[in-house]
């Protein structure tokens, strides 16, 4: 630890924690001074990405002996470094979760180098051997849940036209679009998925316009990958289309139109992380998983989902959960320009790092990445 930087307040806090620890006879699962810091890029009740993380943080708050500090709307700039430092120096946080993609490099890496004894866990980053050992990146294969949504959407759509409101053509988003489209083709080989990029993570008016344009084109089931799916879900439901959710469960917003959805399951992962740390186990610096590892989940089926769709979706879900796993991106995959992107015979399993560099849209998707 950098002794030059210890503040008086930090010393006092440390002293207080020591006394407390000594006073408490039976030691709980965690030391009384374990403080965990969560940093969100947006509002934590946005029905989306940030709310999913906040639900994970809420699960930690229930564990005795843990204190959770949170800060919302922290931009992906130097501001996050200041937030991390104040969480460490003022609140005594020893485990930090900066949850937004842009926090990783250089901001969180810099902080991890500065505080080598503390643990940093980042959502979505790509940890490499060059990065500090006390930093880690975790992420979920939410495309598995999108694949299930695609199957359900494919069965439910009458027109065979599905819509996807997306923010930006980055690998994670493209992977979700492709998984959704491939799932839909499993249910209906003729199904097409039309994608509209709005250009940014939170553009409510553009998202609403995109939703209306898609429905005008005959699309009758929509999903999305934007920070707050609320706009898409509400506007699509008003026009009588069905929706598949994203990030969290949006069925309260449109109970009749909601089919299923791809959700994060941080409320399962975060307590697991904390237990691993308490037990002295090491968390892999590069941590990934899908439905099987309980990092992602699917929303319960809505009433409009047919028995046939449920059966097929459940079968595929069981394959994801099986020991052998299941590959969404199988060999012989052709993109929507007619180019073979995965050669026949080489299935790309979920953990294949090539998939995290995805830059194409598969056959059956109407749209372009640029």
């Amino acid at each position: 630890m950098d002794f030059g930087r210890i503040s008086r307040r930090h010393l006092l806090q440390g002293g207080a924690a020591l006394t407390l620890g000594a006073a408490a006879g039976a030691r709980p699962a965690f030391a009384a001074d374990t403080t965990i810091g969560f940093i969100y890029v947006g509002s934590r009740d946005d029905y989306g990405y940030n709310q999913a993380h906040a639900q994970g943080a809420a699960a930690l708050k229930k564990i005795p002996g843990l204190k959770v500090v949170e800060e919302e709307k922290v931009p992906e700039t130097d501001a996050v470094e200041k937030t991390i430092e104040s969480m460490i120096n003022l609140d005594g946080a020893t485990l930090l979760f900066p949850t937004s993609f842009g926090y990783y490099n250089p901001h969180m890496i810099k902080m991890a180098n500065k505080f080598p004894k503390l643990r940093f866990e980042h959502c979505g980053g790509l940890w490499t051997d060059k990065d500090p050992k006390n930093a880690g990146s975790y992420f979920g294969y939410i495309d598995e849940a999108q694949y299930i949504s695609g199957i359900v959407a494919g069965y439910t759509s009458k027109s065979g036209k599905l819509g996807f409101v997306a923010a930006k053509p980055i690998p994670q988003v493209l992977r979700n679009i492709n998984a959704f489209a491939l799932g839909a083709k499993l249910a209906n080989p003729k199904a097409t998925t039309q994608v509209i990029f709005t250009g940014d993570w939170s553009m409510p008016v553009k998202e609403a316009e995109a939703t209306n344009s898609l429905i005008d084109q005959g699309v009758d089931v929509l999903t999305c990958h934007v920070d707050g799916p609320k706009t898409m879900v509400e506007n699509a439901a008003r026009r009588g289309a069905f929706v598949c959710g994203y990030h969290t469960n949006q069925s309260p917003l449109a109970p009749k139109a909601y089919l299923t959805g791809a959700e994060w399951n941080w409320e399962a992962l975060y307590p697991k992380f904390v237990k691993m740390i308490a037990a002295g186990e090491s968390i892999a610096n590069f941590y990934r998983g899908g439905l099987k590892e309980e990092i992602v989940k699917t929303s319960p089926y809505g009433e409009a989902v047919s028995a046939e769709a449920r059966k097929h979706a459940d079968e595929v879900k069981a394959k994801f959960l099986s020991a052998g796993g299941y590959a969404i991106f199988k060999g012989g995959l052709v993109d929507n320009k007619g180019k073979t992107v995965i050669a026949a015979g080489t299935d790309r399993g979920q953990k294949d790092p090539e998939l995290e560099k995805m830059d194409y849209l598969v056959e059956g998707v109407i749209g372009a990445t640029s």
Partner: protein, 308 residues
């Protein structure tokens, strides 16, 4: 067509629908700002007013169950923010542009703070009037679902145009804007005229905000406005302080905002960033075409701090 698709017709239809759906906040803010600027003061804080209006409308609609009370609350909030702006600006040597920027930050910040618990609940929305009942094309019917606020805005533009030209208070506002000395010589308080003009401007901008949260996109969240208030203030300059031109400019901006998504939906996918930027390119182009270094902007009130 058998599958309910209307092919390339989506684009003009989306632009028409967009012009109706997206333009209303632009229309209200620009008409409000038109009144304020004609009185010789510029209120850049209308972005904050718009967001505050959206938040208070959503909150009141949620609490009382009546969206129309929400609209009223948005207007009153806007008028209060307008009064604050006018009040600060009436002090000596205060720059109205700087105050406007401060109020823009204040309005958005306050709205985010107070609006925190409103992101999750769903408030009752304003009803729509179905003008497409004669058509059996669902896309056209959807595009022609018009909100009363849009109609009020459309009616307001010619009324304001007429009022500026022929009524007594229209003349007073213009006098205050063109020459405060003349207004004073007539025995009127310039500050009082500007206070009222700024309050009316704020009232309209607040109502514009209520349209955002209660009709389209139709829910409260922090990215709701994404700069529409500030764009609308720029629209006024673009429209040369003429309420009728404000109407056309708002419609053009609404339609242009729908262009990007609509083109992507029919398969024109290259360069969507460019199409998404269409409204701003349109502004720049018209500004460049109509600007001249040899004269001041035609129609600009002489007392306005940006032209003085």
């Amino acid at each position: 067509m058998a599958d309910g698709s209307i092919g390339l017709w989506t684009v003009p239809l989306a632009v028409l629908g967009g012009a109706i759906r997206v333009s209303t906040p632009f229309l209200f803010v620009s008409l409000g700002e038109c009144i304020t600027e004609r009185s010789g003061r510029i209120n850049l804080g209308l972005e904050g007013t718009l967001v505050m209006g959206a938040m208070s409308a959503y909150g009141i609609s949620y609490l009382t169950g009546s969206p129309w009370l929400g609209v009223l609350a948005a207007g009153v909030t806007g008028a209060l923010l307008g009064a604050l702006h006018a009040g600060i600006c009436s002090l000596p040597r205060v720059n109205d542009v700087a105050v406007g920027i401060a109020l823009m930050l204040f309005g958005t910040g306050l709205a985010f703070y107070l609006g925190k618990p409103l992101i999750e609940p769903t408030a009752p929305r304003l009803p729509a009037i179905d003008f497409g009942w004669w058509s059996d094309i669902p896309q056209l019917r959807a595009a022609l679902r018009v909100n009363v606020l849009f109609l009020i805005g459309v009616a307001l533009a010619p009324i304001l145009y007429w009022a500026f030209r022929t009524t007594r208070w229209g003349l007073l506002i213009r006098t205050a804007g063109e020459s405060s000395d003349a207004a004073r010589a007539m025995g009127h308080s310039v500050l009082l005229i500007r206070l009222r003009a700024t309050m009316v401007g704020g009232f309209l901008a607040g109502i514009g905000g209520s349209f955002l949260s209660l009709f389209y996109p139709g829910s409260w969240n922090e990215g709701l406005s994404s700069g529409q208030g500030i764009t609308a203030v720029a629209l006024v300059i673009f429209a040369r302080w003429d309420p009728l031109l404000c109407l056309w400019a708002s419609l053009a901006f609404g339609g242009a905002a729908a262009l990007g998504p609509a083109l992507q939906s029919v398969g024109v996918t290259s360069g969507y960033h460019l199409f998404n930027a269409a409204p701003y390119i349109l502004t720049l182009a018209i500004m460049i075409i109509t600007c001249s270094p040899k004269r001041t902007l035609t129609g600009a009130p002489a007392e306005l701090s940006i032209t003085r």
